[in-house]
């Protein structure tokens, strides 16, 4: 995990005392942690611990009842998803949420929507500045396609692709937005060993080459321990541990949560 020019900076995202309930069910209670600029931060925990809920709070799909989120120095309690996207938060989903009818190219291009400046009148004409802008976007998309090694499936409708490749396209769409903070919800779920290794490599490269801050949820402990700088552990909606992989690994509460406690 020691690579060339990685610098971990100041706090980019700070979660303070977040509490989220659905009716009577409490999904998150009083959770606090932070994500520093340039790091890979993992959120782990058993099923139903509230990991995805946490991610959904950060990107604005859920609105927590209590607590505050500080992102890039601005405090907020809630936000709408498209606003989060506009502020540089991109994400992938646990169950792939790609635009199945579109090609790989169009899917990744859609990630650049917020970067497109020209109104549709100019684009319809496809002339002058609009043409230049279009070419610029195409170039950015091609770069991502090369980066993720998916040149061969460029024109294929993504609905027809195998699962592992769909996950990769989804990552590509998130990258196309050139995010400051990338949220990955179980990027390796349901993959075979080879696909997992590829995905690990991409995540590390994204972090290393683009300096993107990454917060990810993952179940595969080996992967989490290898990838991340710091790990936060949730159980039943509460934070039970927070620290480097080594610290977390030796934490008794974490061991209990994962292996069970003898009664």
């Amino acid at each position: 995990m020691t690579s060339s020019g990685r610098v971990i900076g100041d706090t980019l995202l700070k979660i303070e005392n977040i509490t989220l309930s659905f009716g009577g069910v409490r999904a998150l209670s009083d959770v606090s942690f932070d994500v520093r600029k340039g790091e890979i931060r993992a959120i782990i925990g058993p099923n139903g611990a509230g990991k995805s809920s946490m991610l959904n709070c950060i990107n604005g799909f859920y609105h927590p009842q209590k607590g505050q989120i500080t992102y890039k120095g601005t405090v907020r309690q809630q936000m709408r998803p498209h606003e989060a996207a506009a502020q540089g938060i991109a994400r992938t989903f646990q169950n792939i949420a790609l635009f199945k009818g579109m090609s790989t190219l169009d899917n990744i291009m859609s990630g650049r929507l917020l970067k497109m400046k020209r109104g549709f009148f100019w684009q319809a004409l496809y002339w002058g500045p609009a043409e230049r802008e279009e070419l610029e976007h195409r170039e950015a998309v091609e770069k991502i396609i090369d980066f993720l090694e998916i040149q061969a499936i460029r024109k294929m409708p993504v609905g027809k692709l195998p699962y592992g490749l769909q996950k990769r396209v989804e990552l590509g769409r998130a990258l196309a937005a050139e995010p400051d903070l990338l949220l990955l919800d179980e990027p390796m779920a349901g993959m075979n060993v080879e696909e997992k290794e590829d995905m690990c490599r991409f995540i590390l490269d994204v972090n290393d080459q683009f300096g993107t801050t990454i917060a990810l949820i993952e179940h595969d402990m080996g992967v989490v321990m290898d990838l991340s700088d710091r790990v936060v552990v949730l159980e039943y909606g509460q934070k039970i541990a927070d620290g480097t992989p080594d610290e977390v690994r030796s934490n008794q509460k974490v061991i209990d949560a994962y292996l069970g406690v003898p009664h």
């Binding site: 709408r80 991109a90 929507l113 549709f120 684009q123």
Partner: protein, 298 residues
């Protein structure tokens, strides 16, 4: 032979009108998964607005004003009806559009009156002969029908460009595919809904204009929407080319069966032919000719 082609051509031109109405349905269904029962009422409302405005100002002023009215209507529908119902089941949104339909029919007739108005677009209604060199005596077509076909063609080209070439079009296709994912890449759902309802409103205006010029602007225009249903079943609810071709097939089928089967099994085929065809499609190809294939993963 010339007579056969004349029937086919007449049918195709009539079908264009069905396509225009179906197009409005497809736009909204694609972007929001809502079956908009109010499309017929929107056609009526737009036509009434246009025809009454034309009582005061010439067409080239009345048309843009009506466009603005339809966009304002989309804005209100988004604010008052759709926004409070976000993330509700499709059936609930459908019921809401039923409400919009009744409201618009009543409101439109209260404001603009419920008489039958003639809409004069300045296009001569007299028939003309074409292709006289190919067929003996030529083919008889209605000039208004030709005009309608040209308008529909222009509209389809415009919509296709809009969907395929522009940023908003890309956002629209994204929303049509997956709401959550679209939001995560920064598409504001409310804005997209406003755009599609406006587009559907303007398509309704064009449909209302052409129907109104042909039949006069009257309440029965709202019922034209019913004819769009079989068109949609044929073409698929999610396909723009499907709506066009579905409309053409039904228009042509109606005329051919009326002319050639009518004398054998008694007339009036035109009234039920579309529904019969839709029924057959529902039995054997429920996704329509061009709709997305329905695959259930088990």
């Amino acid at each position: 032979m010339a007579f056969f082609f004349e029937v086919v051509l007449g049918g195709l031109l009539a079908g264009v009108l069905y396509s225009l109405v179906a197009l409005g349905f497809v736009l909204i269904f694609k972007a929001s998964g809502v079956f908009n029962f109010a499309q017929g009422a929107m056609v009526l409302f737009a036509a009434l607005t246009l025809v009454r405005l034309m009582g005061w100002v010439p067409f080239w002023i009345a048309f843009p004003i009506t466009c603005v009215v339809m966009i304002a209507l989309a804005f209100i529908i988004e604010r008052v009806v759709l926004r409070p119902l976000v993330n509700q089941e499709g059936i609930i949104l459908f019921m809401a559009t039923l409400g919009i339909a009744f409201f618009l029919e009543g409101f439109g007739q209260t404001v603009w009156g419920s008489d039958i108005y003639t809409l004069d677009l300045g296009i001569p209604k007299d028939p003309m002969f074409i292709l006289e060199s190919v067929f003996d005596g030529g083919l008889l077509v209605d000039k208004l029908d030709v005009f309608a076909a040209a308008v529909a063609g222009a509209l389809v080209v415009g919509l296709a460009l809009f969907f395929q070439k522009t940023k908003v079009g890309l956002a629209l296709r994204a929303v049509a595919d997956d709401h959550q994912a679209a939001q995560s890449i920064g598409v504001p759902l409310n804005y997209i809904w406003l755009v599609v309802w406006s587009a559907a409103g303007i398509v309704a205006l064009v449909a209302g204009m052409v129907w109104g010029a042909k039949l006069g602007v009257q309440f029965s225009i709202a019922l034209v929407a019913l004819k769009a249903l079989p068109v949609l079943i044929l073409g698929g609810f999610t396909s723009v080319p499907g709506a066009i071709i579905g409309g053409l097939i039904i228009g042509m089928g109606e005329k051919i069966s009326e002319v050639y089967l009518g004398p054998i099994i008694g007339g009036g085929i035109e009234n039920w032919f579309a529904y019969m065809l839709a029924l057959i499609f529902l039995l054997f190809r429920p996704q329509g000719l061009f709709g997305d294939k329905i695959i259930e993963r088990v």
